[in-house]
Symmetry: C2
Subunit: 184 residues, 2 copies
């Protein structure tokens, strides 16, 4: 298989405890007390789940080669023992975004909004993994997963605030923020 | 739903008669005498199908704004009465392709291989619709559909030959070519 599937499954029990759910824009998500991130999932509807969101780890869509190399040099992987805090941020963008050509989207994404540059300022503290779900016909376009230590909570809040103030974020019409802590 | 789904369903009966199936590289597809292209499908496994391939009409990945405008000005839609010939070409690219950054892929796709420029030389005679299926976890990455009149068969053959001789095609590790004529 060419891509790795992921399912985020919300319910009564799971790897991560849901501390807070905030609907940033658009429709929210049903309440749940726990969440699990399951890579290599088969997209089966889990029994007793409050909800589940499916996505794939797929190829990069905007990163240029020098950006990719720079990120690879400084970023760290998920599952660090100190990373007891996490966030899941599902996002959907407006049809106007998707109707643009590749260079128009890239221009807003990086030249105008500095998405990669801003994110890289918070590396390696805030580890990040992007999952795509638009082609799967899901309710969101992306599911972004973040992991960090408790002392990086403030930095993570600042990162979100900076990204949400960009021109790119004018095209976001649905966004939910789940904040989580790891279950012992 | 953000994207339009498509299913190509092969079997004993269908909209298009299969004239010829050629395995260009890699594993082929089982024999079938007819094929239907169903947009708005729900990806159910059709009963009695020899095989089916699913994809989505999704956003453009490489086109820049001037290329997009130029293509939009000269291309024609599918389903023209004179277009009694069609082709379905499922393609898969090597992991090396997908591991490249966006600018590296774009450079091979257009600067070195002239994919858009070459294709536009055959417009409006050869109408084309690209479906993506990599993120769906399918056996192919793309399903490209072409429609043209019988007198454009030679031009279409030439188009395929030119694309297959490009640097981009060195990254294609599975390709099947189905040639079809419309059932009355």
């Amino acid at each position: 298989m060419a891509v790795t599937r992921v399912s985020f499954v919300a319910g009564a029990v799971g790897q991560w405890r849901v501390e807070h759910v905030r609907t940033v824009v658009g429709q929210g998500l049903p309440a749940a007390s726990a969440l699990s991130r399951i890579e290599g999932s088969v997209f089966q509807n889990p029994i007793d789940a409050a909800w589940s969101l499916d996505g794939v780890r797929s190829n990069e869509r905007y990163q240029e080669v020098m950006e990719k190399r720079k990120l690879a040099a400084i970023q760290e992987d998920l599952d660090r023992p100190a990373s007891t805090c996490a966030a899941l941020i599902p996002i959907r963008k407006l049809p106007e975004w998707w109707q643009m050509s590749q260079d128009e989207r890239r221009s807003i994404f990086e030249q105008k909004s500095n998405h990669i540059a801003v994110g890289s300022e918070y590396l390696p503290a805030v580890a990040r993994r992007l999952y795509h779900c638009r082609d799967l016909g899901c309710d969101f376009d992306f599911l972004t997963w973040f992991e960090f230590a408790p002392e990086s909570r403030g930095a993570f809040d600042e990162l979100l605030e900076r990204l949400r103030s960009t021109e790119e974020w004018r095209y976001v019409d649905r966004e939910v923020e789940l904040r989580l802590t790891r279950n012992a």
